[in-house]
Symmetry: C2
Subunit: 127 residues, 2 copies
Amino acid sequence: MALPHAKPGTVVDVRPLGRAIANTSTATLVKTDTLEVIRIVMPVGKDIPRHNVPGEITVQCLEGNVEFHIGELKRELTAGTLLYLEGADEHWLHANEDSSLLVTILLTHKASHRNDGALEPCPFCAR
Amino acid sequence: MALPHAKPGTVVDVRPLGRAIANTSTATLVKTDTLEVIRIVMPVGKDIPRHNVPGEITVQCLEGNVEFHIGELKRELTAGTLLYLEGADEHWLHANEDSSLLVTILLTHKASHRNDGALEPCPFCAR
């Protein structure tokens, strides 16, 4: 069952899942007109194909180890590290370990969303 | 010396500071036209007086224990918990322990910023 989205002021648990990661799905924790916060669960070996989102995003690794590819750049995210991307930056991810990520997406550029034919549909922004 | 703001794709360390918290100041990690990410360091006993910011914010406790007051509501943030606030929600904070918080601020409502006489100036948004 999907978790309900948090209301303003509701305390949300984003601690590492540990062994529970095997039984936990990606979930949207917060969703408003301008902000979306998602906990993405990536089992080892999983890829999220190349995509972009129109607004800026921050990606914080809560646990595990994820390769984060931005164009030709490759970054490694381990627990307690974070990066941000400007809107429209193409990126793809690969999980080197069972991992979870806290992703914060600004929906401010929703109106300018584009997803040209060369890109996979964005898995987080399909609307 | 202030840390330079991260560029897109730069990996930023947001692990708990542990004992280094005593020698670490609040720092802006990311700043763009629409997004600001700040690590706020609050020594035990410190208050951040009542204020609001125009855009939505998320507040994630990285370590410690912070009372988060929203109007008449009181929430407790411990390591690995997060809440969000809608723009303009008045709030104030008190650190029950040496604590650090990762605060993400949407600057999308910058133009509508208001700070009426009853409120303390916002410490994060003084521009």
